[in-house]
Symmetry: C3
Subunit: 315 residues, 3 copies
């Protein structure tokens, strides 16, 4: 694996998950990262992703250097041929080339603007780093995807699954702010790679990108979607059709205990941070059904498996 | 020692001080922290505490991850049952549980608001981490206490003391801003655990919390308090009675050389940063009487002894 | 070498460059820095300098602690005898003395204000650290110099030079903001230590400090200056005469391919970040003539050689 910018970069998903689970239990110190440096570049804030990836890198023996692009006022120019006489101090060509000399892997977080769909879908920041960096690039959540989260989710489902062909529901939930579709996108792509009964439920007007959703069933009735579910993955996202908008909805989509009634005692997942009693109710998060904490723990091992694979491939 | 959130967490004070002093001289590399991670979470800025604790952790072989909660805009919800539809993105329940998975010790700094005494005394942030974290919690200065500083102070006094039963004076001093009582509180508690002649001197209206002060003598005449003192610990704090207020005072409380006249050539201490010629005058800070720099150095060894004890206990 | 605050701190320039080049190729892990801590203190933002110096320190086995003085609101008082009752919380005397206990080397970045020439030339921040710190001080770019960059530049020229006595031109170039003279100053000083044909070209009104320039030829005609050049070092700086001003200039000073015509197929250098098509045109930066990326890479080895020398001397 040269880069990990989308889940399609993983050929052998089963062995990747196996590696992550083995790293988790064995706590092996393979030290494949010794003498190597991970540069983490944040165009948007991060807590969980930063900590878990930093921890993963250090478990492999890597040094970690963190750069907060926005806070350090390091505005990058991405346009070819630009006359740089305003606020952008450095072009991506130099930035990526120089970072490639100081770092052995460059990890980048760059959220969508949620104003211009085409621009967000071009993944300008991530793809520019892929184009101009001479070392592997790791996606720490980009405009349209969050592949480290999706790998974490696959690991977690495999750990908790007891059904032969589990029913897995991705459920939209309310949120006061307009959020990216990244987590939902990567989760939907990931589920399509397994032999599971995968259903998406969201209010009308909130259908995910058809290029990603493909022929996954969308059920607009949340309660119906939940019937016999083994796993419910809860997440808010803003509208894809009315791009980036938060639309008025009629019913209550918050996931509470009563909604789990007709599930198969479903495990409830969320990528965190989660707004209690808006996205998921206390009576679910504080119950045995919630596996959100165990899921967060797997972020470390997903990142560790990915970094290990990248370093082994770069040798 | 499971946590270190108050000096009452130390049972065997003498052996703790001995350990710190031994770590200081031997520069032993016990590496009890190898493979362990310290997460330092700052709700308020820090320089000395961050650097000395980071250094202490690394001397023990630990990895350190720093999170600036305020700057990263990571507003936490502490209220049970809150409907999180405004600015708080994560509940302490998830935050503490997740950090407990990425870190082996969680260190927290959270100052008081100095508006609502009852709220500050509830130590909401620190106690919530103690409640919801599943790993040890270290206090990097909370609303009402600074136990790492107090341990540092005890080490420093023991290093410099030559009297059988030294006279130690905690003296209030002026400051342009309203400051917490934390440092003074923990120092006062610490001194009560030793066989010393301990006196507090402050202007009327500046008495510390009676629950902490207990039956320690308060002398409102600073010069009288200083008579025959072996150690003078200078520190500003805002009023406890008129909670958080900076009150008009009549006399000059700045500690200068002339005030040391009737002391026993007293050593002068301060936790730093110190405002020269407001809190302590140049003629003291630049003299042999001042041991503030040596005191600051002991921050590292106090933190190292505490972290070592916590890690050994957690094994 | 006790400190590295100016290139005059290097006695044996050739052996220093040799050491840096040897560290680069051998990737030796001498670990002279094991158990040592580098404290990097930024009064101004930094990306390249921070990353390369951090990497250099870690390659030597050092721990690194980064402090952002401005962002952490840590305003220092530098004046002797000041009554510190306003916004400055700590005096340089304490700050430097305490940092000297937590760190084995203190690295400082402090830009000029570009308002008051005399004040900038006094190098108050850097010199105060030199005065009050008890450990070596490393200049990460100060008001008037950038000696780590100049050492990098000397290494790079030696790597690429094929002439017996190369012609090296330092060329001013346009920039929308008023920039320090630090990089140009240190480069001009460095070139005067080699047996090279060194010329400075800049618009009238942009002559560098005569104390630094000494008898180096200044050619106001850029094209004439470029004739037969082997290396062209491009850099903007604000006026020294009309201190800190950006003056109207008549001709176009941007370095593009057509200007390289009469050079000896010159190598083009810049310290980065570079504003494309303002300072240097795309057709140069994207050509074989540009060695700016290789030059940036040498930042690591310049810093590594300097830190190694400082640590060996401090033993």
């Amino acid at each position: 694996m040269k880069n990990y910018t989308s889940i399609s970069d993983i050929d052998d998903l089963e062995s990747m998950i196996g590696e992550a689970r083995s790293l988790k239990t064995k706590n092996t110190s393979s030290k494949v990262g010794e003498g190597k440096t991970l540069g983490m570049l944040f165009f948007n804030p991060s807590l969980r992703t930063r900590l878990s990836t930093e921890k993963a890198a250090k478990l492999l023996g890597m040094e970690v250097m963190v750069m907060n692009a926005s806070k350090d006022g390091w505005a990058l120019e991405f346009e070819d041929g630009a006359v740089m006489n305003s606020d952008k101090a450095e072009h991506i060509k130099e930035a990526a080339a120089v970072l490639s000399q100081y770092c052995d892997v460059i990890a980048v977080r760059a959220f969508p603007g949620l104003k211009d769909r085409e621009k967000d879908e071009s993944e300008l920041v991530l793809n520019s780093f892929k184009k101009y960096a001479t070392v592997p690039v790791l996606n720490l959540e980009s405009a349209t995807g969050h592949p480290l989260q999706a790998l974490t989710d696959a690991i977690t489902i495999q750990e908790f699954n007891q059904a032969k062909k589990p029913k897995i529901v991705l459920s939209w939930a309310p949120h006061p702010k307009a959020l990216p579709q990244s987590v939902a996108n990567s989760f939907a792509e990931m589920m399509q790679r397994f032999d599971v009964d995968f259903v998406i439920t969201n209010p009308e007007g909130y259908d995910l990108d058809p290029k990603i959703r493909k022929d996954v069933k969308v059920e607009y009735n949340q309660e119906k979607a939940f019937e016999n579910a083994d796993f419910i993955y809860v997440k808010n996202w803003s509208s894809y059709e009315d791009y980036g908008q938060v639309k008025e909805i009629e019913r209550n989509w918050t996931v509470d205990k009563s909604k789990l009634q007709h599930t198969n005692n479903a495990r409830v997942m969320h990528c965190l941070p989660v707004r209690r009693n808006v996205v998921i109710a206390d009576d679910v998060l504080d119950s045995e059904n919630s596996i959100v904490i165990q899921q967060a723990n797997n972020r470390t091992y997903a990142a560790q498996a990915v970094l290990k694979r990248i370093l082994e491939c770069a040798k």
